[in-house]
Symmetry: none
Subunit: 221 residues, 4 copies
Amino acid sequence: MTVRSVIMNAMDAAPTKRRRRKQARPAELLAAALDTFREKGFAATRMEDIAARAGVSKGTIYLYYPSKQAVFEALVRENLLPSLARLEAIRQSTEGSCADRLRRFVASLATTAGEPRLFAIPKLILAEAGNFPELARFYRHEVVARGLALVSALLEEGMARGEFRRLDPDLAARLFIGPVILTALWQSAFAAVEDAPTPPPVLLDLHLDIFLRGIAAEPAR
Amino acid sequence: MTVRSVIMNAMDAAPTKRRRRKQARPAELLAAALDTFREKGFAATRMEDIAARAGVSKGTIYLYYPSKQAVFEALVRENLLPSLARLEAIRQSTEGSCADRLRRFVASLATTAGEPRLFAIPKLILAEAGNFPELARFYRHEVVARGLALVSALLEEGMARGEFRRLDPDLAARLFIGPVILTALWQSAFAAVEDAPTPPPVLLDLHLDIFLRGIAAEPAR
Amino acid sequence: MTVRSVIMNAMDAAPTKRRRRKQARPAELLAAALDTFREKGFAATRMEDIAARAGVSKGTIYLYYPSKQAVFEALVRENLLPSLARLEAIRQSTEGSCADRLRRFVASLATTAGEPRLFAIPKLILAEAGNFPELARFYRHEVVARGLALVSALLEEGMARGEFRRLDPDLAARLFIGPVILTALWQSAFAAVEDAPTPPPVLLDLHLDIFLRGIAAEPAR
Amino acid sequence: MTVRSVIMNAMDAAPTKRRRRKQARPAELLAAALDTFREKGFAATRMEDIAARAGVSKGTIYLYYPSKQAVFEALVRENLLPSLARLEAIRQSTEGSCADRLRRFVASLATTAGEPRLFAIPKLILAEAGNFPELARFYRHEVVARGLALVSALLEEGMARGEFRRLDPDLAARLFIGPVILTALWQSAFAAVEDAPTPPPVLLDLHLDIFLRGIAAEPAR
DNA sequence: TATGAATGAGGGTTCATTCAT
DNA sequence: AATGAATGAACCCTCATTCAT
């Protein structure tokens, strides 16, 4: 057993700098892509822009993703599913009233795990849905539908408990989530030209206030 | 009065078919552009596509607009200002309660003067705001801000009258308009992949119901 | 009827410079392509090379042919079918012995209508057959097979007349045409490095001499 | 004698499997290259294709050949010289008539030492002659010229012996070898699209029959 | 006014080659 | 000796824009 082979074996356990890099590359590339897509949109983003921001050369991207479209799709998929998982966790917790859990939903979405750059993804999806029907379908069915279903279930639970008055839970779920999404879109679109941006928390607090009053069970007379 | 304007006026007086055509050209081109941008987005739309849909040749577009970007900007400006004017008219009418007038706001926006193709404009703005900061600023300040101001004023009137409880009228205006805009975006983005689309009126009725309850003045005990 | 419309009508009969150019472009482009493919082969030829040789810009080629491959295919098709037609004419003429007509076949092929650059086409086909199976099939079945059939028919007529001895006419046709093709290939491949090139006519005369003796009917003893 | 050569000699004396591998590498690489070039042509072959077929990584090829072009040149040189040597041996044997030896020439070329993949080399040369003038010169002068000289000498011997009639031996040599080469090219190019390929031996037998009759000495009257 | 042939800069993608490991 | 991640020059193709007719 040579010195070299010992080293090689060690590498399996403790990856070399090179291997660690290889592992980290996809995430680095997607982060760079997100930033660039956010600023310019999909079409106006050049592969070279992404590469430069990631600190690699253009060709390197193609070692990890076969096309610009594939980068975009990976970006969407990788980032949305974790967000959904967090919502799922909130829905399943049984602590607090349904109204409380709705508040936590909003808080979770509004912070998107402390990564505000993810706010840009809904904008990208909306903007590019026409050009990427497959991606639109994925987003519509795997992300939006599941997100709405979580809210809808929570609303139904609230109705059953008598917290909320009776109304169509699917429609109400859309109205509940709408302002959260719109806040994200707003930020994406007008951040650069907004003079005095409203901090999202203030807006969302008012949304919760109005919405929860609006669906509150009628007080018995 | 220049020689040219005399000629133009003469044309207005006795327009031949050809002359009427010439006058109508810009509007025809913008209509064709709107349809094409709706389907493909700004970047993926080729000048040739617009020209073909308008029934003219590529070069002709440049007789009326100096660039593709100028076509886009004209499209936005020409179509949004009339919509705003209609909202203004509603705000100024003094018939009915404030709640009623808010209902008519929503109805007006939801139909966009019976031209559902205009729904696509917010999506286009959203997608291209990063690439056209000047347009984003125009839209933000000339369209959105004015629209919000109208709603805000109506809400304040309602508070003064005692119809609504006290809350920040600017924020509430955003929350009021949000679902309308989002419905438009939703339609634009997912029409192609939506299995059973919710008709916007049903959704917007529920929105009005919840929102108006949510901001209603507290019943005196 | 205006002056202008008179001019326009005249244009239909006597095409303007612009139209004449448009008509001539495809042939000019194919000529430039042939020269460039001859020198460098298909893969090493850049569209820009072809464009420069034709005196146009890169983009212009795409107004007439949708891809580099399409240029190549058009080049082959346009140039080979006329050559085949000339052979057909010779085969159908009934003047002279069959041997005479074979001599005229060779003469016709060897000059390729006075356009020696066409010699390069068989080389291109052979070289690229692997990459363009569809083109190979076209050439094999529409050009080679038909050319061989013509020769084969002539040989059979000669056998029936007693000019030639009995042998497989299809195989003999290949052996007859072989040296003609090979001469073309030879020229294409080694023109640049050949010290003292053999003039094809001399070689082909000897070919005719040996071949015709080789297939001559046995003298009655 | 250097230290290194001592080591190398030692390796020759007692080659381990690993060492034998190292020695065999160049030949393995050339074999993989030949197969890939045959299928796709030079330009469309990627170094990675060759590497994969040889079971090594891309970088390894560069340990043995400095460039793709060098691989191609080595391939040609290594494979053609042995074939020439076999022809030389036939030419020098004095058994049989000259016609017999010509028959053995054809047989030797047609089988290319039982390695039919070598048939592809003339096609590759043909296709790339324009891009590799140095290689074309090598092939033209070191391979073709020497091959033709062998045949030419045999023909002259036959003329001197009275087997063959008088004719230009260099030209006749080309006509003699032509169908053999063309058969190789044919196979390479059309194997994939040929419906009922003629087996080369049948074709070449007829070639020998016609050619030898065509150059046979005139019978005394 | 209208046309559409022509342009040429620009960007996605490929792949021979390099070099740190 | 061998690897394979990384590079970046090269090239096909697109399309906004121009301009002669």
